[in-house]
């Protein structure tokens, strides 16, 4: 895992003295400017058309990327929104309304449609979402063919050729280019802002790990609906423009699957989920097709489609992260964020001296009441009438053999699983007990959890991962960033802030998991085997770390197999076996309980000593 970090580091140094020239930002603005300057310079209608096409597709791909890339929902039906925009523009223009107004009407309509069709579909993933979006596209196609009164059916809609800014129809090409360039830039700006906003982080977190995102109090459905609506709105605006540009639309071209796939293709080739990838993808592919057409003549039927298909296969096989991955690798960003070379050697070490250790406050009132939890999976009785309390500032250890139902209990007291019967009550900040139902509600009531199998948002940096946890407390991204940095430094992660989470070693990931939860400032912390799989030196540090957390007044429930940690940290231990509480009490008492030894400790104690 770490190889990636090391190998990519020297590459990033390449820029050297020329760095200022080959800077990502400069590349971007130069590209953007050339989209306007080249056609004006050449002054040829056909070149204008190609650049208008580039801007159109770049804008559409960028808009698609908000839902397809950021939110990870592979929509192959984006032509729906394009078609809605185009039809709205044409029909309203025919009744005398300028596209400048209908553009927004179309955008609102498309956003509404997007919300309506995305809401039921968001529980579908990957290929199923894609299939559903194709099905919706087909339905829209049939509707547009059959609703002759509105859409003119198969004959389509056309507008009278009244030139001017108010109709968005021009004899000369420059105004069209300026408009579509503006729309594309607007899409890019929106995509850029979203990527840097809370919404962007939440979308990517949701895409990467939906459960962890829900655990961090992200309303995963809401954020994806926002993304779908914004994406659809932008797509529709470009559709309105293109309708005026074509002066003619029909169902066949408006609600077209090939068109939808093309939009996605540019984003994929450019780099999914990157802000500028779709732009670069379009700039690369559109001229290639045009040139191929010019060189090979029009007679070679199917050739350009074949080239598209092959490019697509080659890209997924050899460059699945798209052009942006090359740009990332060979061009330095303007803000140089890098790892210290020395860090790689000392990846796992928390500088304990950095951590200030407040004295431990006394154990206080009950903050969590678990009563009579029952859960069946089919015929299996996973938890059976389970009840326990947690006190303020207490560390409660939960141990038990594999399959005893420990993680199920955690899932029930963090909202990921609904109990068949029984209740979980959390002491709210106002002093009353509340019973949250969803992961988000638990998170908001102050319960934070980690996952047994670490669930980092792999494609996000460590800092961004922690920020996701902080989002529900702060409004602004900057405040979150500040909070994330504080927590990273508390947990000894500050050296890795700009590293992508996927590059961290397992110990680092465990710590990141804790950091993300801590960023939510929970009052109750649920730790699911955070000690498993880390080496003895780190274990020591991890135990100290949890003491620090405990000393700050946070109540902790820890599922743990590592006996050293259990014995040293727990104020009280609950032993669960076959879904029931086998024993509870002080660690040293539980250890001596014969039933426990028989059921569990005999095996586990020797395991622990081996570690």
């Amino acid at each position: 895992m770490n190889d990636k970090t090391i190998s990519s580091t020297p590459a990033r140094n390449h820029g050297g003295g020329m760095r200022w020239l080959f800077n990502k930002k400069i590349l971007f603005f130069a590209t953007l400017a050339s989209l306007i300057i080249i056609p004006i310079g050449v002054g040829d209608d056909y070149i204008y058309h190609i650049f208008i096409t580039i801007c159109l597709f770049a804008g559409l791909s960028t808009a698609w990327n908000i839902v397809g890339g950021y939110a990870g929902q592979l929509s192959l039906g984006h032509a729906i929104y394009y078609g809605i925009g185009a039809y709205t523009g044409m029909l309203m223009l025919n009744s005398g309304v300028s596209p400048w107004i209908s553009m927004f009407v179309g955008a609102i309509l498309a956003a509404g449609v997007a919300v309506a069709i995305s809401y039921p579909c968001f529980k579908l993933h990957g290929p199923f979402y894609a299939l559903a979006s194709i099905a919706f596209l087909e339905v829209f196609h049939v509707i547009s063919l059959n609703w002759v009164g509105l859409t003119g059916g198969a004959n389509g809609v056309m507008v009278p050729l009244e030139m001017g800014w108010s109709t968005m129809i021009f004899t000369e090409r420059l105004p069209s280019l300026v408009i579509v360039f503006g729309l594309m830039s607007f899409s890019l700006a929106v995509a850029w802002v979203i990527r840097r906003s809370k919404l962007g982080f939440q979308l990517i977190a949701t895409r990467e790990r939906e459960s962890a995102a829900r655990g961090a109090a992200i309303r995963t459905v809401h954020v994806r609906l926002y993304a779908a609506a914004i994406s659809a709105g932008l797509t529709a605006m470009l559709g309105t423009f293109h309708g005026s540009y074509l002066t003619y639309i029909e169902p066949e071209s408006a609600f077209n699957l090939t068109f939808s796939i093309q939009i996605v293709l540019f984003a994929l080739v450019g780099g999914l989920g990157t802000v500028f990838g779709p732009l670069y993808g379009t700039i690369l592919l559109v001229p290639i097709t045009e040139l191929a057409r010019g060189w090979l003549g029009s007679s070679a039927i199917g050739l350009h489609g074949f080239v598209y298909g092959v490019v697509l296969i080659l890209v997924v096989l050899f460059m699945p992260d798209g052009i942006m991955s090359l740009i990332q690798r060979y061009l330095p960003s303007s803000r140089v964020r890098r790892l210290d070379a020395s860090v790689e050697n000392s990846v796992d070490h928390v500088p304990l001296d950095d951590i200030n250790k407040p004295t431990r406050p006394p154990i206080g009132e009950v903050v969590l009441k678990v009563e009579h939890l029952d859960k069946h999976f089919g015929g299996l009785h996973v938890t059976n009438d389970l009840s326990f309390d947690l006190h303020k500032g207490e560390v409660l250890g939960i141990i038990g053999p594999n399959g005893a139902g420990k993680t199920t209990v955690f899932n029930m007291i963090s909202g990921f699983l609904r109990a068949d019967s029984g209740s979980v009550a959390v002491l709210g900040e106002d002093g009353h007990f509340i019973s949250p139902k969803t992961p988000g509600a638990f998170a908001r009531s102050g319960v934070g959890r980690t996952f047994q199998i670490v669930q980092p948002f792999a494609a996000m940096t460590v800092e961004e991962n922690i920020m996701v946890g902080a989002f529900y407390r702060f409004r602004s991204v900057e405040e979150c960033r500040k909070a994330a940095r504080e927590i990273a430094s508390e947990l000894g992660l500050n050296r890795f802030l700009d590293e992508e989470a996927r590059n961290l070693p397992i110990g680092g990931l465990k710590r990141l998991e804790v950091a993300r939860v801590m960023a939510m400032r929970p009052r109750i912390l649920l730790l699911d085997e955070v000690m498993a799989g880390i080496n003895p030196a780190d274990l020591r540090e991890a135990i100290e770390l949890i003491k620090v957390i405990r000393n700050s007044g946070i109540s902790i429930i820890a599922i743990e197999h590592v006996m050293q940690a259990v014995m040293e940290l727990s104020d009280r231990v609950i032993v669960i076996s076959s879904g029931e509480i086998l024993a509870q009490g002080k660690p040293e008492e539980v250890v001596k309980n014969e039933a426990v030894i028989e059921a569990y400790l005999g095996k586990e104690a020797s395991d622990a000593s081996n570690e």
């Binding site: 397809g68 990870g72 592979l74 039921p120 579909c121 529980k123 579908l124 993933h125 990957g126 290929p127 199923f128 894609a130 299939l131 559903a132 194709i134 099905a135 919706f136 087909e138 339905v139 196609h141 049939v142 509707i143 063919l145 059959n146 939906e210 459960s211 796939i261 996605v264 293709l265 994929l268 999914l272 070679a300 039927i301 199917g302 050739l303 350009h304 489609g305 074949f306 598209y308 298909g309 092959v310 490019v311 697509l312 296969i313 890209v315 997924v316 096989l317 699945p320």
Partner: protein, 293 residues
Amino acid sequence: MELIFSLIVNGLMLGSLYAMVSVGLTLIFGITKVINFAHGEFMMIGMMLTYIITTYLGIHPYLTLVFIVPLLFVLGILVQKYLIEPLRNSDEHVQIFATVGLSIAMINLVLMIAGSDNFNTPSSGMRHTLDLGLATVLTGQVVIMLCSIFMVGGLHLFLTRTQMGRAIRATAQNRNAAQLMGINVSRINMVTFGIGIACVGIAAVLLSPLYPVNAQTGQSFVLIAFVIVVMGGLGSITGAFFAALIIGLVDSFTGFYLGSSLKGVAVFGIFLMILIFRPSGLFGKARKLAHVS
């Protein structure tokens, strides 16, 4: 009464045709978890080859099975090995686009070679009408109906009774566990993909005497095949068979009572309903599946 009977017979005939096309797709999906967007194009290639072999050798189209099934089996293995397998750990988007790219490339390759013409495989007696009293069917349709039943039954036996079949099922249920049990998962995936494509090869041969083929032919069938795969419960071969019959009947009845223009809305409407409300398929148990959260 005669009318209803005709509609039912038409629907069942069409349904078994859809079943033939969908069985391979559902097998591939169930085991490798890859939705093969190029499935229809494999069928189109199969139909093209049937046309070529039939016209060059002057043999009965059904005899081309001897060439086409092994050929498509190998083609399937190659695609799995060099295109899908390398992407096994990639993002879902990337896998989808690998097969979408393959589909675009195949359609256009055929366009480059053969143009956009229709090719008609000789019907060789398969368009002979059989009178069932209340309705008529074609010999070729009856063959398709019988073969689809044999194919579904055969695959079922293969998956439950043979060593390889068990290994395939084990892989489908838990890839990691299968690997631990010494099953070579990538080999299983290749074989599965090969069998799936070979199945669509059989469908191609049997369809050829009934339908003309051109570069776009695969596209006409593949969307319906997806509907059937999802409706039947992912990876369930018998489920897909019955789903295909249902879709055939829906197609037949809505075509008659609502008009052909709205057939699409009915079929895709049902598809969306099932995806949203019963994502495990019409016949699947309502269990938690990988594709829903």
